[in-house]
């Protein structure tokens, strides 16, 4: 049972969260300008590293905020918050 650090609610059991896969995949600025292959990359292709992975989680049973996390997919070790600056503002519950 991983302990996921929600930036707002503090560390909670993984069961409270919804997993969102790879972080930082932006919606294309102009999807219509993309080729079918490029659009397929956005729709279906995500990194799948063994090791450190920047990924998205949403605190479904808590504050319902999405946030990014870096986790080692080989060990489940959580290495800290990812992209959002605000995430440093953790609280303890």
């Amino acid at each position: 049972m991983m302990l996921i650090p929600c930036p707002w609610c503090g560390p909670r059991n993984e069961t409270e969260f919804h997993y969102g896969g790879q972080a930082g995949v932006a919606y294309p600025r102009d999807p219509q300008a993309l080729s079918d292959a490029e659009w397929a990359q956005f729709l279906f292709f995500r990194d799948n590293p063994k090791g450190v992975f920047a990924e998205r989680w949403m605190h479904r049973s808590g504050c319902r905020r999405w946030f990014d996390l870096r986790r080692d997919t080989a060990t489940n070790e959580i290495l800290g918050a990812g992209a959002h600056e605000e995430q440093e503002r953790t609280v303890s519950v």
Partner: protein, 410 residues
Amino acid sequence: MAPRTPGADLPDHPDRLWRSADPKSSYDVVIVGGGGHGLATAYYLAVNHGITNIAVLERGWLAGGNMARNTTIIRSNYLWDESAGLYEHALKLWEGLEEELDYPLLFSQRGVLNLAHSLQEVRDGVRRVGANRLNGVDAEWLDTDQVAEACPILNTSPDLRYPVLGATWQPRAGIAKHDHVAWGFARALDQLGVDLVEGCEVTGFETAGDRVIGVETSRGPIRAGRVALAAAGHTSVLADTLGLRLPLQSHPLQALVSELLEPVHPTVVMSNAVHVYVSQAHKGELVLGAGIDAYNSYGQRGSFHTIERELAAAVELFPMFARAHVLRTWAGVVDVTPDASAVMGPTPFEGLYVNCGWGTGGFKATPGVGWCFAHTIANDEPHPLNAPFGLERFTTGALIDEHGAAGVAH
């Protein structure tokens, strides 16, 4: 010595299995991944296509990945034509495999029930049975009473939180003994002169332009006329070294086993809605699988709450399992695609072929994969059965969406 406990023991293995080979400097075909798929592919390359200068490279011990960790369910009752074609081909091969490999695979066609717990699952089940029958796959729709007859220990009371409203039934489906399957192929390959190289991790590829000409391994470089990837959950990691992106995510998939029990469970029961599937294996142990854990992981372990939820479902469906005991839990790493169907075919790299994304369906497909992947490698083009499973489908949108069949699907 006194008689053995009935059923509690397995038939003996042959005296000779395989020699663990040292790698040569080059092969016609190098197969990366010594699991069921890699072994079956090598086997059909040899027997169907006459190619025997093959190395199967396994980073750990042979067939020690998902092949050693799955719950051994074999069935072909998939919804879409493409899937039914491939899995049914596999099932037909299963039906002759024991004889072909001359190995006791304990292939037991005891039938599989896929339970429906909601009106929508009933519709989906009837739809799938119809599609199966028209595709030549044996399938029946059973109402609740017929389900109770097929599996008397199942709780078919209407008072269940999610009562059993019916089930699909594939009589030819069943289970086999996973290690025996892998070892049967390995022994045959050993006799065919194929090199099975254990403890040999592939770390990268040797390329010449867009052509893959060999692999880098923990035991030195190996040249290859053709390279075939069959590394399941680790395929992404390997493809990454070539900059080849695959639509895969690797997740833990857990299973557990009970102590040995006198036979009570005559068939295989699967339930998508409550996420559990159960059979009683040859020695008498109950073998249970759960849903896939949601997050990416290569850790070969999952989360305990998945197990707890699975057991809650199991005890609801099978009240008599209350005092059975969990003896051992474990997890495999399954590679899942966006449409829950596999990827098998050539790649943008000449001489490189990929077989991955089997998710929870890998074991049951084993001989079918071997047959088709060997064809793909030998002819440099897909077999008609795996042609729909190429990477192009993600661009065109011609997906083979088996989420319904694969939801928990095993």
